[in-house]
Amino acid sequence: MRSTFRISAVAVLGFVGTSAFAHHSRAMFDQTKQVELVGTVKDFQWTNPHCWIQVLVPNPGDPSAPPVEWGVEMGAPVELMRKGWKPGSLNPGDKVTIVVNPLRDGQHGGLVLSVTGPDGKIIGRPAVTTQ
């Protein structure tokens, strides 16, 4: 994985990572941890340099508490489109389950690994290129 790669890597040619994450390091995310967010979409931002989902996550242990808002980060629109996403793939009010690598700094944010939509299916698909 990336951590072992970084130890020995001296890559002259360039940015290691997906194109979107060429623009900032992924080291801000804890890639050894995964957090599952079950909540409701507040906003889906189909924007450069990254798409974002604002999601309201209730505390299952305390339904009366106000939900916590998470801001989770994805790739650039062109990357998401290649993976089967569209600008209208998510809408405010959609019930979703999002798996993220959380931010290391403890804020309610993270790197999106997968999103399960209101129909119970994972949104998008792996990119396909000739092997």
Binding site: A11, V12, L13, A20, G71, A76, D105, A127, T129
Partner: protein, 280 residues
């Protein structure tokens, strides 16, 4: 004599029309000859149409994870690229690496910004890795177009590099090329004087004004482009770097869409030289 004959036969107006028609025919014949030559010049060039990406990104799954093969490719590329610096440049490299290490250790949650400004297109040769690419091959120039906001012009019209007093370091440098069969041989100088190192969070090391790249670019099968390249810098390196990268044909997408408009929604602002995140 013929003109006199025509003049006697034809009224002056008709003569003018005839002259225009003759001139037109001569022009068209010449244009056709020239366009035939141009068609032949295009026909000699390889077909590099389509959209391409670094092969390590092939099969990347949702969630930005590399495929197993992609990880293997990245390790292979990294292992092949270990510059042998001269003592002076090794010392500079060590110093930068030490600083980056210290900065990362001081606050691992907020990586230090060690790249160039992050929404500018990456300088050559880093431009050959992120995003998607297209090639435009013409007799006079081969153009490399990237979705991360850069265009490389490789002139193949037989010109030389400009004289030294007309060159300065630019993101893409100055590239001239020639064809050896279906291989485009490219010579690039006047790039930014630095190389990108992907250790830690990634950083640049300075190189000298002698930095010089030679690429040999060819299609090795209908779905793969191979770029063999040599990096020379007699001031900074004790020996040239020789390496290869491969671009794969993209088959699941047919549009080039730029992805560098960071002003649209930048939520990872740099604060005090470190990446931060705005979660709301």
């Amino acid at each position: 004599m013929i003109a006199n004959l025509i003049r006697r036969i034809l009224p002056r107006g008709l003569l003018a029309i005839a002259m225009v028609l003759i001139a037109g025919c001569l022009f068209l014949t010449r244009a056709q000859t020239s366009s035939k030559g141009r068609v032949e010049a295009f026909a000699r060039l390889p077909d590099w149409s389509g959209i391409w990406e670094l092969d390590a990104f092939v099969g990347q799954a949702d969630g930005q994870q590399f495929s197993a093969d992609g990880q293997r490719r990245l390790k292979y590329y990294a292992a092949a690229l270990r510059p042998s610096f001269t003592p002076e440049y090794q010392a500079r490299y060590d110093e930068i690496q030490k600083k980056v290490e210290a900065a990362v250790a001081a606050d691992p949650a907020h990586p230090p910004v060690t790249h160039q400004p992050l929404c500018d297109p990456p300088a050559f040769p880093a431009i050959l890795t992120p995003g998607m690419f297209q090639w435009r091959v013409t007799p006079e120039e081969t153009t490399f177009i990237s979705t991360v906001g850069a265009v490389r012009h490789i002139y193949t019209d037989g010109r030389s590099h400009p004289p030294k007093d007309e060159l300065w370091p630019t993101l893409m440098g100055d590239s001239i090329g020639h064809w050896e069969g279906d291989t485009l041989v490219v010579d690039t100088i006047a790039t930014k004087r630095r190389l990108y190192m992907s250790e830690l969070s990634g950083f640049f090391v300075p190189m000298s004004d002698q930095l010089h790249f030679i690429e040999r670019i060819r299609m090795i099968n209908p779905d793969r482009m191979q770029i063999d390249y040599t990096v020379e810098d007699p001031v900074a390196l004790t020996k040239p770097i020789h390496a290869t990268i491969i671009h794969a044909r993209v088959t699941d997408f047919n549009r080039m869409i730029e992805e560098t408009d960071c002003e649209e929604n930048e939520r990872d602002p740099i604060v005090n030289g470190r990446f931060t995140t705005v979660v709301k």
